[in-house]
Symmetry: C2
């Protein structure tokens, strides 16, 4: 039977973590030892006496989760891993080196880091997602511990998380706030006023404990209190000293993010190296990842010629996917009646998460849930996903597997005007590492892509349309990611029109009119914007020498750029013309919008005639 | 002497606003009358008895500012404009029509709307910027009134604003929160618990007043209390009924964003049309826009051959600009020692605004300030500007003129790792309507571009580099926006290398090595990524037939896409190869990063040899 480490030894462990953080940063010549030293006692107590974690089985969903929101304090995290014998001392001294796992800010290059941090204010929202999954999906007694800095409490995303956590009664979530008074360039707004944080968090429905963050007994009691508190999350708000333990740096400004001036002296002042090893408590259960009870997916089937909005097809397909797969969950930003995730919510209420109007928390919750093996689909208007762009960016650094769905794409929404139009979403999502960007034009295509994206890796984005569009594909047509569909084609093609989503239908109408004029035009449905089907585009270029892209998006970063990039291989490039939204839209009917933007059939016909002339 | 309208008549005015909102939405066949009806009494009292505003002089900085954060309630706003005789009744009935000014969500197509809304949670952060400018820059008794919905209180940006407003003691700011209990798809998190909002806001340092939002006397008293409260902002938290006054829709779910089922009946129930006209109080002073005391700018001058970080040049140039121009202000997200805006902060502390780690509020404050004629420069790490992407998107809808500066671009930052690297910023900012995107490679170029961007229109983005780079341009060289510099050129050029920022120096080294091998390579410094210098690129293409782009950015949306887009005019296109960051970086030294990413001189030489072979 494992006994908890006594508090005197825990105090020594805190000093060891400081020493090792100082050594790591000194070896690297950069890093954040002072931000590590303030939280060392907080983390020593957690690791030695409270965390339930099996370093040999990091994917056991019964493990506690442990999120370093103040990611710049990575030397402290790595010192903890060293104390747990997970990282050898020689690796600690290769901190921040090329080819190493110990990056400047933690990433999943280490198996015990499931969530990359370093963009402040993200750890607590991720923790909410993880705690929700533990409680409502996995039903395990796993606790989620998040180490927050005091500076990052200024981020709005922290308060989205605070609200969500108390609303969901996440008593398995503990925030440990390291109030060391100093931000990067000077004092924080509230300095050592721990009461300022406590008042705010209590008003948001949290239980709070204010302590001296260097008193190991007080820390221990606070964690016990957190674990005993039911019905609400707990924040342990700890007054600390940045650079604690070394007089040359303790509570001094101007030393953020710098190795200690004299590491040797500092180590002596800290009492020298120690070799304490910790085996954390093991989790209370062992569980494999959720059973993969995948039945065949019975996707909705739509009749060719009917008019169906792709957002409707999305909602129905997602619901069907949820029926076939127990690992699919859905989240929405209080617009499920618009995105149509309501179909899923009604069929699978236990796996639907209402995130209210808090898109950062919504995406973060999805990222947190996928660390436990769940397959999240998070939806809101495409325009409002821009609110969470930093979270999407960081999700890629976390190697997260999430599905994001943006409805109400482009000017085609009509009267609501530009604030509601997703016109930069393709650009934003294309520029995410290893992302997949899909933009269907009909209901059957949408349904197939929803099923396909669930099995893809990385950040998968699907763009849907508000209004109804004609069903042009039969229900059994297949749409591999990275493919495209050639909808009109002949040996006489003189121009190729590349479209996706609403503009596919305009392109087809344009091709018909051009054909009547004796101009054969190829039409390509580029439903996979990334990865893009370079083979089909190259073939069209070789046949026609002329490509027109047409998209309901700003000219930058979308389909025009994606098509041009397909030819950036040093080979010959066809003549290119792009039709896109070039003026700020206002309110108008959908068809008027396409006309005013110059992306309707008329505009395509005119551009094609010019290009072949 | 103007007398305030009596409360009985104000009550009638509230009914008139409801009737007109119902009529506008009915004529349009869409819109949000029920969300307008809940706030009608709140706005009637404001317009008739508290707002100080001259509709004939909307740019007088002494005017109160009036921000409709719940932008979907635009029919109410337009009904107010009609009551003030600013919008004729026939225009009200052209709501949401093509070519009209009364868009689905308010935009500056109307002269009395300075800030577009419709993405929720933005009005209060804008209001903070406007109130800060009124108080600390304009020194006028102008008040800022923000109408918020209850749903949008879930957005973290609202709490960034709450924190900032109380920290800055903005007693000239009043938030009016319309707690109508119903969001888009159902009840809000707190429904009618006005105390939940009050507790949170009080904990954040606000004065709060909870009232019945349909009791005009209580509303009036609350606004008087708000105006009398000193040292802190006030929130008037009003319990209301969505659809108030019409039994068919009052407090009913499922009616969000829909015209009333029977407008005629509703108007009868509301007591019929009224023709009350309101002249709001005039402001207490009349002021022209700030004096344009522009002295010639004495930019810093750097010696060719020295090594200077462009972020240092930015800070020094901004400070010099602030000395020459009294209208320039700076904001930073608690990283002024990194972005180097600290140069400005030290020289012009009265025009520097510390926004702490709250990038949404920082950008919103800049947007709010420019409504009063100030020229803001807001800076943080390029990576963290992604946090505010929705605010940047909406700033473009607002036709805002702001400067945003992102430091620590690309893998070139070195050891800190991917969380701190701006690798999608060019894509994000290129895809903003009417944006300017600049990326200097040396200190003198940076200084010139800082001065140039201050005079440009729209969203101007400057990308700076962490490490020092050689000064290659003399201090008097000019760099027009939309231009480029040809750094190596001959009649024998067989390939052109297009670079910007750090990769310019790699391109020059590569060209030297290629020249030694007998391959003449043109080098183009594409410092203006948007607008892009298509003429110079076309000339290089005509001479060489082969272009290589090389950028410290993901392959999507940046320089490669910008160069390809320059050839999307239907003309012949050169062969293109792009070098960009294609794998997820980790920690490493800056030079190692460029090598691993394949964007250093070696990679350029190899690509050029391949392409000319």
């Amino acid at each position: 039977m494992r006994e908890d480490m006594d508090l005197e030894r825990v105090r020594e462990l805190g000093q060891q973590l400081r020493v090792d953080a100082v050594r790591a940063a000194d070896a690297a010549g950069s890093g954040h030892p002072t931000s590590s030293m303030s939280a060392a006692d907080l983390m020593a107590v957690l690791l030695a006496r409270h965390l339930r974690y099996d370093f040999d089985a990091p994917s056991n969903p019964c493990n506690d989760q442990f999120i370093f929101s103040k990611g710049h304090a990575s030397p402290l995290l790595y010192a903890m891993f060293a104390a747990a014998d997970a990282v050898p001392d020689e690796e600690l001294l290769r901190f921040r080196r090329l080819g190493g796992r110990l990056e400047g800010h933690p990433t999943p290059r280490l198996p015990w880091v499931r969530l990359a941090t370093g963009s402040l204010g993200q750890g607590l929202p991720y923790g909410v997602g993880a705690a929700l999954a533990a409680k409502r999906l996995d039903h395990v007694p796993s606790r989620v511990w998040v180490l927050c800095g005091d500076s990052e409490m200024a981020e709005g995303s922290v308060w989205e998380a605070a609200e969500h956590a108390s609303h969901e009664k996440l008593d398995n979530l503990t925030a440990v706030i390291d109030v060391n008074r100093l931000g990067q360039r000077g004092p924080t707004r509230h300095e050592w006023d721990t009461g300022a944080y406590a008042r705010r968090l209590r008003a948001f429905g949290w239980h709070t404990v204010e302590i001296d963050g260097h008193d190991v007994a007080a820390i221990d009691a606070a964690y016990v209190e957190a674990a005993r508190t039911t019905g609400r999350p707990t924040a342990v708000i700890a007054r600390t000293l940045k650079g604690k333990g070394v007089s040359a740096v303790e509570d001094r400004e101007g030393l953020h993010g710098k190795p200690l001036p004299d590491a040797e002296d500092a180590i002596v002042e800290l009492g020298g190296r120690r070799h304490i090893r910790v085996e954390p408590r093991h989790p209370e259960c062992v569980r494999s990842a959720r059973p993969l009870d995948h039945a065949p997916v019975e996707l909705p089937r739509f009749d060719v010629g009917d008019e169906v909005a792709t957002r409707d097809a999305y909602g129905q397909a997602l619901s069907a996917l949820g029926t076939a797969r127990g690992d699919v969950v859905a989240l929405d930003g209080e617009v499920s009646d618009s995105t149509r995730s309501e179909f899923f919510a009604k069929a699978h209420p236990e796996r639907f998460f209402e995130c209210y109007i808090a898109e950062q928390q919504m995406v973060a919750a999805a990222v947190g849930m996928q660390t436990r093996g769940w397959v999240p689909f998070a939806s809101t208007f495409a325009a409002f996903l821009t609110r969470a762009y930093d979270f999407v960016r960081m999700a890629a650094v976390s190697r997260a597997n999430i599905n994001l769905v943006g409805s109400h794409a482009g000017v085609a929404i009509g009267q609501d005007g530009p604030s509601q139009m997703g016109l930069e979403d393709l650009a934003a999502f294309r520029a995410v590492h290893r992302s997949t960007v899909l933009y269907p034009c009909d209901a059957n295509q949408t349904a197939r892509l929803v099923a396909a994206m669930a099995d893809a890796a990385g950040i998968r984005y699907l763009r849907t349309t508000r209004g109804a569009t004609p069903v042009i594909y039969p229900p059994d047509e297949e749409f591999p990611i990275g493919g495209s569909k050639v909808l009109r084609s002949s040996a006489d093609d003189r121009v190729a029109i590349v479209a996706a989503g609403v503009t596919v239908h305009e392109a087809l109408a344009a091709a018909d009119r051009l054909a009547a004029d004796g101009i054969a035009a190829r039409v390509i449905d580029l439903y996979s914007v990334k990865p893009v089907d370079a083979v089909t585009l190259r073939a069209a270029a070789e046949r026609t020498g002329r490509l027109i892209t047409v998209e309901d998006h700003w000219p930058e970063g979308g389909i025009g750029d994606a098509v041009a990039a397909a030819f950036a291989d040093g080979g010959p490039v066809p003549r290119l013309v792009r039709l896109a939204v070039r003026t700020m839209p206002a309110s108008a009917a959908p068809a008027e919008q396409l006309r005013v933007a110059g992306i309707d059939a008329d505009a395509i016909v005119a551009a094609a005639r010019d290009l072949v002339a």
